[in-house]
């Protein structure tokens, strides 16, 4: 009973800023106050009419989609190798491949900035895609590994014994079975890349301002509920995309 009420309080703390951001998106006051006053959709209208934000959304979507594709391919290949074969140095390889999750973004951002200046990728879209894919591939690897662990490798063995080649076995047997993991990994990669700020702040050239950078600079110098409205739209979008994928991933795993 004590634990339950304690947990309720901690969950309230955990969700507090999200509740505040969503609530202030509908306030009629000129700056974000909590609890909000009245109800209006004007702030949503306002940000949809500001090209600096809509352009940034377009740019972020393109960047996130491209990095998602790159990391889905890199991550699925790596996970197959790590999950289906006993390679020497298995532990070291998987530690290396998962390390970008833990690596300080502020250091990686500066490192990539100086590196890109040396190799001529400075301020380029390709450079941003490469940086984001390094960051998101570990999530694809983990989720694909998780779904690989769910089915018996004997199924693949059977396909091969029946005469299917490696490629055919992969396309017709393995891929359909790990699809929930690849899909979940790709979706998380998309969301992480879309929301990435620190590394992008170092690498984005002029004219490549992404939505998180727009929000960051906007919040630094001004405070009005426009940012609440954009954030609310993002929260709704990620929930609508992320939750069904998560549920599907879980239901496959526990069926």
């Amino acid at each position: 009973m004590i634990l339950l009420s304690l947990n309720a309080l901690i969950m309230l703390f955990l969700l507090a800023p999200i509740i505040v951001v969503v609530a202030t998106a509908f306030t009629t006051s000129p700056y974000p106050v909590f609890p909000p006053e009245g109800f209006t959709l004007a702030w949503f209208e306002r940000f949809l009419g500001m090209s600096e934000f809509t352009d940034a959304i377009e740019r972020s979507t393109l960047l996130a989609f491209t990095s998602m594709v790159v990391s889905a391919v890199l991550g699925t290949f790596s996970a197959l190798a790590l999950g289906r074969w006993k390679v020497p140095g298995h532990g070291a390889i998987s530690a290396l491949m998962l390390s970008p999750i833990l690596f300080p973004a502020i250091v990686l951002g500066l490192a990539l900035l100086v590196f890109y200046h040396r190799i001529g990728l400075a301020g380029s879209f390709a450079g941003l895609v490469a940086a984001h894919s390094v960051l998101t591939t570990p999530f694809v690897i983990r989720l694909v590994l998780a779904s690989l662990a769910e089915f018996d490798p004997a199924i693949e063995e059977a396909a091969r014994n029946l005469g299917a080649g490696w490629w055919r076995t992969f396309l017709q047997v393995t891929l359909p079975l790990i699809r929930p993991g690849v899909l979940a990994g790709a979706v998380f990669a998309f969301i992480i890349s879309f929301d990435e700020l620190v590394i992008t702040l170092f690498l984005a050239g002029p004219g490549m301002t992404t939505l998180p950078i727009r929000i960051f600079t906007y919040v630094e110098y001004s405070s009005d509920p426009t940012v609440s409205a954009i954030s609310t739209a993002l929260i709704i979008a990620w929930t609508l995309i992320g939750v069904p994928v998560y549920v599907r991933f879980l239901s496959i795993r526990h069926s």
Binding site: V21, A111, P212
Partner: protein, 310 residues
Amino acid sequence: MSTRTGLAGDRSVTGPEAARATRRPARRDLTPWLLLTPNVLWLALFLAGSLITLAVISLRGYEPGGRGMLDTWELTHYVNFLTDPFYYAVLWRSLGMAGQVTAWCLVLGFPLALTLSRLRGVARALFYLAILMPLLTSAVVRTFGWMILLANNGFINRTLIDLGLIDEPLALMYRMSGIVIALVEVLLPFMVLALDAALLNIHPQIYEAARNLGARAPRIFVQITLPLSLPGILSGSILVFTLAISAFVTPALIGGPRVEVMATLIYQESMSLLNWPFGAAIAFVMLFTLLILFALTFRLGSRVQPMEAG
């Protein structure tokens, strides 16, 4: 430890270990290496390559204004950082901040993880989702929420004044206290996931045995739950500490220029002052500090491990 950090809490990764071990015959198979190559090359280029470049740059000379980066090799930037009391203070402030955030995440994360690890089926999936939900919202957005809450005339101060607990608003914005509050909230889910993974590994029969032998809840917690979840406590603490000391968004927005920490200093030196060599040196001071702390934690972990096995 990084294997405990994923989004889905997949402890089953090492699942059919036996099946995997017997799968491949002794015949040399190059397929896994072909599959690993693209990602290994990618990481060698963009992770290793960029870090080596950064290390080289941190040893280059720098002349403010005029010539910028020089072709000389020197340790000036490291010496400058470690001898100047101002920079020294930034390092200590960051360590203190990360320590406080880690401690609070442990305190607040344990009750959540205890409940989560006891739930099964749909209830567990829902609770898990509720804890993961904040991770689907970016740190910028959540920090913005905290800025609204922590302001002088914000919700927290107005509530405390209305309740008569304080007369003057507490200064939380542009203070370390505000940064710590927001960072604890931003990083708490990571701690809960790490603790949950460790708590799930404790066999329920151990609790039963303890209860049958007459131990009460507080004693069970101190003598069984706490020591057996130590791997999760250590991995969660390392994760949260690392993310806290390198956090940029929350200190930049809530602390502003008044409360400088390592991450904001790196950004300011390299992006506002364009002194890349010094920024690079600060980055490596931070990495070395983390490495020393990791080494100490692992020694602590390996010293305690044999005891719990017995």
